[in-house]
């Protein structure tokens, strides 16, 4: 029968408890925990038995303090409830977990004030790095001030305002918004569409600007006109998109197709079209952006641009981890070339 050397039940078990329990020094137990080859086999076995017996849990905070390292990464997202970012977060967590890091989560709900607060609070936990998808209008100076220069930052999805892209001291992972929207527009043009609108999003968001630029690029290249009333703004969600649908048809010439800011907007627009008796995919062509899960399942299924958010999450994590390995390397800008996925929502214009 084992002697009961278990210390008072309501205290956490530490290295010292284990050391005392099997008559070695704390240092030796520490070596065992870290799998050092320095310890004798017999001792190691004795210590490991004692660790099990007392139900020891490693205190990584204490270790990190002493070693001046960190084993966490802060992940700050402007809208976790959005499936796109939820997928992204899943990918990040997968990759970080695999590398032995823990994810500190922060959700800002598109509020710059909350973003500041969240970043500040997370930084107190001394993360090894930060992955940030900034809130709309978030400012480079502000962010840099609270993050400091010691903690590597990886920016995802959006640029920060007020700092030239070229000399920004952080890495970035972006989607090729402009090329994506251009591909979608070109695809519609190839189908014979001529009156194409750009629908949804807010003009002050950088991703919206880029997508709009891609649309303009394709239209101009094809020599097609762009009417001012073919640019309808709305919040990037289904509800507002459905509500704004009518604005497309106020003035003539009315468009016969729309490149939408993203899938949510596209799905909302399709709903709005149905309610007006216009059948998307037959009477009116629609494209989205993101390729969220519902895109393939809507009626008609949505032609869109795939960015594979979960894979982007993994990629973001890997980029940041690599940066931790070489802090002095040049800041890197990675652009993911989104892929056009053609489905039923894009069609030729109705024959007049």
């Amino acid at each position: 029968m084992a002697t009961d050397t278990t210390p008072h039940a309501n205290r956490k078990i530490t290295l010292a408890d284990i050391a005392a329990g099997c008559d070695v020094s704390r240092a030796t137990v520490s070596l065992v925990l870290r799998g050092s080859p320095l310890v004798n086999k017999v001792t190691r076995a004795r210590v490991e038995e004692e660790l099990r017996r007392q139900g020891y849990v490693y205190n990584r905070a204490a270790a990190n303090l002493r070693r001046r390292t960190s084993s966490s990464i802060a992940l700050v997202l402007n809208d976790l409830a959005n499936p796109f970012f939820a997928e992204f977060a899943t990918g990040v967590d997968e990759a970080l977990g695999g590398a032995g890091y823990v994810t500190l989560l922060g959700s800002t709900g598109e509020s710059i004030a909350r973003e500041q607060a969240v970043l500040g609070s997370l930084l107190e936990h001394d993360p090894a790095g930060v992955i940030l998808s900034p809130a709309e209008g978030s400012d480079a100076g502000q962010v840099l001030k609270t993050i400091g220069v010691r903690t590597p930052l990886l920016l995802f999805n959006r640029e920060l305002a007020g700092k030239a892209s070229s000399d920004a001291p952080w890495d970035r992972l972006m989607l090729d918004n402009q090329r994506g929207a251009r591909l979608a527009t070109e695809h519609l043009i190839a189908l014979g569409q001529k009156r194409i609108a750009f629908f949804g999003g807010h003009a002050n968001s950088s991703s919206c600007q880029q997508r709009h630029a891609g649309y303009v690029e394709a239209m101009k290249a094809a020599g097609l006109p762009i009417e001012p009333h073919w640019r309808i703004e709305c919040a990037p969600n289904r509800v507002d998109a459905a509500a704004q649908c009518g604005a497309l048809f106020f003035d003539s010439p009315a468009p016969t197709a729309a490149v939408c800011y993203n899938d949510a907007v596209a799905l909302g627009l399709m709903l709005g079209l149905y309610q007006r008796g216009i059948r998307p995919g037959r009477d009116f062509a629609v494209t989205g952006f993101d390729d969220i899960a519902e895109a393939a399942l809507s009626a008609p299924p949505l032609t869109t641009l795939a960015s594979m958010p979960r894979a982007r999450g993994r990629q973001a994590a890997e980029l940041l981890l690599r940066r931790l390995g070489e802090p002095e390397a040049e800041p890197q800008r990675t652009v993911f070339p989104v892929q056009l996925v053609v489905r039923g929502s894009s069609c030729p214009p109705p024959t007049p």
Copy 2:
């Protein structure tokens, strides 16, 4: 011009640096940081100036070590990519952030092995508590062993296998699945439906069992028969639900309504019905469960049960925080009474 006492740029600023910078002791700086009334106004101002000047960031890990406290909560979810849990996570993070806690995220992807690994890894960071939505089939013994008895656990959404509900030493926040499904079924019955199927989900999941039980309860109370082929299993997603749709009509009498396991399944089923030329909301009644964002926007909009996942997230956080305040109180089981939201997808049976 201020004298430049800034220490070597590539080291983190500590209390000692600040103390040296304005000729006080570390303790005084610490008091200032924590807003103690003990320090003199003039000193406080001097210290605060120096804090700003050197760009000090608090090291919460060190403080927590000394104070034997923790300022983080682990949030472990079986499927973060699911919008329901993404909303839940947002709510949790909101409430925790407001209370000065930080969220340690872990996603298990329904894998029990990963759940164990993730829990182990997160516990090394000594969270003050754990919010867990367990992977399917996750075992109480296992979980309790890695979490230990010192760290409060709040279980969300699912029960753990292998432990009597009554004497489980943890708190729970559950949805009233049985009542919800009963309400939906009763609603269909009140509309005149008699041949009602239960569609989707896996029979081994506890939430599916509970919902099915509610359905059975309502059917029996109304004296309606339940045909065995009215219970169709499928994975809880749109794709599989659409694929399994046909199974409802293999044998007669075919149902004219279906209570679905959740919204994803219901939306998939509606899609499958469309593909067979059956119009949901006219020829066939459908109800869902969860009230996800798309439910209100589908065609027809979906009658479903609202659980308000973001509010549940906040609630979960609050329950856990309360528990931290009184560790010895009785374990508590909280059940949220989901609410029936009637929309267009539920209808009377077609007149023969």
